[in-house]
């Protein structure tokens, strides 16, 4: 919400974020307490009033000029209009003069973060009415419940914003490789992140058995990790993991980099009771040699027309009380193959959901189509697949393809 400065802009942003259903319980309470035929939660935007939860009227948008709540948000306390027909501001309003011919309105303004009034919780009736002092208090109490929910939402949005900024901007330009990464965030921030970096071909720190030793050129390291949990804590840990792994990765082989990352972040992870599943691999863009470490992630595969090859190991995630020894796995990414790494959203390590998704990509007809697409479009279609199969969590996909023409 960085560019949002006014209350109406904030209201529009809240409305765009969706999820109004969770306010239904407040609407239910309003009905039980007041017995009014209509109760609604309205957000007053710049041009439109957004009804995000309601009973007795449709949710959706109406012009702000027709809004009664636009007056409520201008005052600090509850606004009550005992007879709308007798109030010149509302007598000609479409819902008063015609339609349901409403007579009574009471609304409590709702403050978003930093005290800006973004909307109102209101009740409406068909006959003139007056609320007593206890009823005023109860309506205000219900408003406070909604405000707390809005505050949590704003916090989540900020956490998600932090997380978005931590993702790498664009893939490195490496001849012979096409790469794309894509995150589709759930409403709350989560602990998914992906990263890539170019590892210099310096022999420093390499061991003789490192398959990459022979190469003197640059390698590309691709990482996808998921910190258990949600919200700001998970986002913060994700940013720490990313920074630490990047730093170690520069100087040592991948398995050692993972072990050192585990040591460095141990205190943060165990202190927060969190663990991290991680898949990280180094790819030689010239010959396709791929070394990788799978720390409890299990959702990486090489896909081609010929089939799907899972790149999974039995290693434990980082942050568990039992330290593992993360050993390198090895494979080769052929020129007609594609490396796909995804986060768990719908894809589960323990069932065949990833295989099914990959099979959908590699079916002969689909594969020709997949090959024509950019890697970014392939990543998008993987997330679309996940969405259409009921993903509710954050979803991340990284796709890497070797490019024969420039290799």
């Amino acid at each position: 919400m960085t560019s949002i400065t006014t209350a109406p802009q904030l209201a529009d942003a809240f409305a765009a974020a969706g999820g109004g259903e969770r306010f239904d319980r407040v609407i239910r309470l309003a009905q039980a307490i007041f017995g009014t035929p209509i109760a609604a939660l309205n957000l007053v935007g710049e041009d439109e009033q957004h009804t995000i939860a309601a009973v007795g009227m449709r949710t959706g948008d109406r012009p702000v000029e027709e809004s009664i709540c636009q007056y409520t948000v201008q005052q600090a306390g509850l606004m009550e209009v005992p007879d709308l027909r007798a109030d010149e501001r509302f007598a000609d309003n479409p819902i008063v003069a015609g339609g349901p011919r409403l007579r009574f309105y009471a609304g409590v303004p709702l403050s978003g973060p930093s005290g800006r009034r973004v909307g109102a919780l209101c009740i409406l009736d068909l006959v003139p009415r007056e609320l007593g002092p206890l009823e005023h208090k109860m309506l205000a109490d219900l408003g406070a419940v909604v405000e707390r929910e809005l505050a949590i939402e704003a916090e989540m949005y900020r956490a998600g914003d932090v997380q978005r900024r931590l993702l790498p901007a664009a893939p490195p330009d490496v001849p012979g490789l096409e790469m794309a990464g894509l995150v589709r965030q759930a409403r709350e921030a989560g602990g998914d992140f992906y990263d890539w970096q170019v590892i210099p071909g310096s022999p420093r720190g390499r061991r003789h058995d490192d398959p990459a030793t022979a190469a003197t050129h640059e390698l590309v390291q691709v990482t996808l990790a998921d910190v258990m949990g949600k919200g700001l804590p998970a986002s913060l840990l994700a940013s720490e993991m990313r920074a630490v792994l990047r730093t170690h990765s520069r100087y040592v082989p991948l398995d050692i980099a993972v072990a050192r990352t585990s040591e460095t972040t141990e205190a943060s992870l165990t202190g927060n009771g969190a663990f991290v599943t991680l898949w990280t691999g180094r790819l030689d863009p010239i010959d396709g040699t791929l070394t990788y470490v799978d720390a409890g992630h299990g959702l990486a595969a090489i896909v081609s027309e010929r089939g799907v090859r899972r790149l999974a190991q039995d290693h434990l995630p980082l942050g568990l009380p039992v330290l593992d020894e993360w050993k390198l796995g090895m494979d080769v990414l052929a020129l007609d193959e594609m490396l796909v790494v995804v986060s768990d959203g719908v894809f589960n390590v323990f069932d065949d959901s990833l295989d099914r998704a990959m099979s959908a990509l590699q079916r002969t007809a689909a594969w020709a189509e997949t090959n024509r697409k950019s890697v970014a479009a392939v990543a998008r279609s993987i997330l679309d697949y996940a969405d259409s199969h009921g993903a509710s969590d954050d979803l991340t996909a990284v796709v890497v393809r070797r490019n024969a023409t420039t290799a």
């Binding site: 239910r28 009905q31 039980a32 307490i33 007041f34 017995g35 009014t36 035929p37 209509i38 109760a39 009973v55 007795g56 349901p100 011919r101 007579r103 009736d125 068909l126 006959v127």
Partner: protein, 140 residues
């Protein structure tokens, strides 16, 4: 119109926890304009009796007499004053209301006593939004 009113009544009965039956009654004639219920023994005779009882509740001679006395005392022309009635029996609640913009008709909702009173009123009053447009030209 009766069919459409029946549908609105069915909507109330189906949506409200504890609802037993719901009806629109013409309070000038006692005629049932629309009805829905979940009780096998509610036959036409029974429903007509309930409708007649509702009419008595709002337009009965004793009630009318009291209204006349009050009006006389206040020095205003006699008029009907009762807008809503809530009644409790051993096993049921009855919610009754004159339609605010169609005073020739009343709504009756019967629920069991596990129903929430606020919810019941909210559901009945909300049904007015659908009923009044249907009655607009026919009852006046």
């Amino acid at each position: 119109m009766t069919e459409e009113l029946d549908q609105v009544m069915r909507g109330v009965v189906d949506a409200l926890d504890g609802a037993i039956g719901c009806a629109v009654v013409d309070v000038r004639t006692g005629e049932l304009l629309g009805v829905a219920h979940n009780v096998p023994y509610f036959n036409q005779t029974y429903l007509d009796a309930v409708a007649a009882a509702a009419v008595q509740m709002f337009r009965g001679p004793t009630v009318t007499h009291v209204e006349e006395l009050i009006s006389e005392r206040r020095g205003v022309p006699p008029h009907h004053m009762i807008e809503e009635v809530q009644m409790t029996t051993g096993r049921t609640y009855h919610f009754m209301m004159i339609l605010p913009n169609e005073p020739g008709a009343a709504l009756v909702l019967i629920t069991d006593r596990k129903a929430n009173v606020g919810f019941s009123w909210a559901a009945l009053r909300r049904s007015v939004l659908s009923i009044e447009p249907l009655l607009e030209s026919s009852v006046r």
